[in-house]
């Protein structure tokens, strides 16, 4: 894959290579953060010095369906030894799907000194780079967070309904089967079910993984991404776009692509996604 700076991204500084991470492992201004779907991965092996941010217990409120609040974020950042000036670098499994989710949640708190390691942990591992089981300990920091700002990059169901009525662009990043409504959820699946199968009216189907090169797990070039999102699906850079999936994690990956790699100024992630919309009384769906 070509050098990140040569891929034509709008904001290339948010993406760093495995080489860059290897060179910054001891940088006191950088905190490497692993965020995975699989909770077994970090304890089994991770990049030396990396801390874990777990999507279930660290990013979500445990009693209401929402993200952590200001004090919870301050506690998290203090635990991993970050200040407002620390540059956080996310990486993880599944082509950085969960890393982008954590990146998005950090942006809700204005922690924009954030990057993603291109190719994620699988690329690092396939390159034969060293990994460890040792969990690092950093001195607790003093971190003062602003109140979470949901207004810019997060969409709620009422916004989405207005979006539908205004015929503005929506992107459904789930699999084609989920989009078509032929696959709803696993039998007996306890967490992410929906009563109805289908998609939000007017949404374009662009599975999140299309942004990734399957051979080395890096992001495609800006030209390749524009071919998918713009030439094939008709999005335009100045569109007001809402992205969604099932619970908002896959769509945060697409939010990252549109916002940082293609430079779209207004993209919001609807984290209620299909688990909310597919169960919501009084809203339309399409199959």
């Amino acid at each position: 894959m070509t050098d990140i700076k040569e891929r034509g991204y709008a904001r290339p500084e948010v993406l760093v290579s495995t080489d860059w991470v290897a060179q910054h492992l001891s940088d006191p201004n950088v905190r490497i953060i692993e965020s995975n779907e699989d909770p077994l991965l970090y304890p089994a092996r991770h990049i030396a010095g990396a801390v874990e941010v777990d999507w279930t217990k660290d990013l979500n409120d445990q009693l209401r369906r929402d993200y952590l609040g200001k004090s919870g974020f301050e506690t998290l950042m203090s635990r991993i030894g970050c200040t407002r000036d620390t540059t956080v670098v996310f990486y993880g499994d599944k082509n950085n799907w969960w890393a982008c989710y954590a990146f998005w949640v950090f942006h809700l708190f204005g922690h924009t000194a954030a990057k993603v390691m291109d190719g994620g942990s699988l690329k690092w591992e396939k390159e034969g780079r060293p990994m460890t089981k040792e969990v690092p300990k950093y001195p607790a920091s003093k971190y003062v967070a602003p109140e979470r700002d949901d207004s810019r990059i997060r969409a709620y169901r009422n916004h989405v309904l207005s979006h539908v009525e205004g015929k503005k662009p929506l992107v459904d990043v789930r699999s084609p089967e989920e989009y078509a409504g032929t696959r709803l959820h696993m039998p007996d699946y306890p967490n992410e079910g929906a009563l109805r199968g289908g998609h939000i009216p007017g949404a374009a189907s662009i599975p999140w993984g299309r942004a990734i090169n399957p051979d080395d797990h890096t992001f495609k070039t800006a030209e390749e991404l524009r071919a998918i999102y713009e030439k094939e699906k008709g999005l335009k850079k100045d569109d007001d776009v809402v992205v969604y999936c099932r619970i908002g994690e896959r769509s945060s990956h697409t939010w990252f692509v549109l916002t940082y790699l293609l430079g779209y100024p207004k993209v919001r992630n609807y984290d209620g996604s299909w688990t909310e919309w597919g169960n919501l009384v009084g809203v339309p769906i399409e199959k």
Partner: protein
């Protein structure tokens, strides 16, 4: 109706009583470390593995084989092509250690939610689909074995 295999029942009882998340994770990592013991041997299959052995919906690219033993039970073998498929590896080890050599009728009684008992209810949808797919594949082999050799519980026809 047959009960589930005793070894698996004991394992599920242990996991269901496990409240400490870190303890569960560490135990599953330790189990996954035994994966080489259940890896499909060359005499059964070699790369590229046939698509009909691939577990549908498993993002760790897990494969399952079954070999008939003299007592008409099955010995299961596995491959997990994604080096990060630790959960799939742990699942493979658990199913080999508890279902290989068990009566096929008992294997069919294993409930799908055994995966949640083992991994906990925090499993994401994608992961649960893959791990349940491994169980479904093992149970398909058991079903085929019963069809081939007859169900002793049904008695003489």
């Amino acid at each position: 109706m047959a009960a589930i295999p005793e070894k698996l029942a004991r394992l599920l009882a242990m996991f269901s009583g496990m409240e400490d998340r870190s303890e569960r994770i560490q135990l599953l990592i330790d189990i996954a470390d035994r994966f080489k013991r259940v890896l499909v041997p060359e005499r059964i299959a070699s790369r590229p593995y046939p698509k009909d052995k691939l577990v549908p919906g498993c993002e760790s690219q897990a494969y399952v084989w079954a070999e008939e033993l003299p007592d008409r039970t099955l010995k299961f073998y596995f491959a997990v092509e994604n080096p990060q498929g630790i959960s799939a590896m742990a699942t493979s080890v658990i199913f080999d250690e508890t279902l290989s050599g068990a009566p096929p009728e008992q294997i069919l009684q294993v409930p799908k939610d055994a995966i949640y008992t083992i991994f906990g209810n925090e499993l994401s949808m994608g992961k649960s689909m893959g791990l349940m797919g491994i169980l479904a594949m093992v149970q398909n082999y058991a079903r085929q074995q019963i069809a081939r050799t007859g169900d002793p519980a049904a008695g003489p026809s």
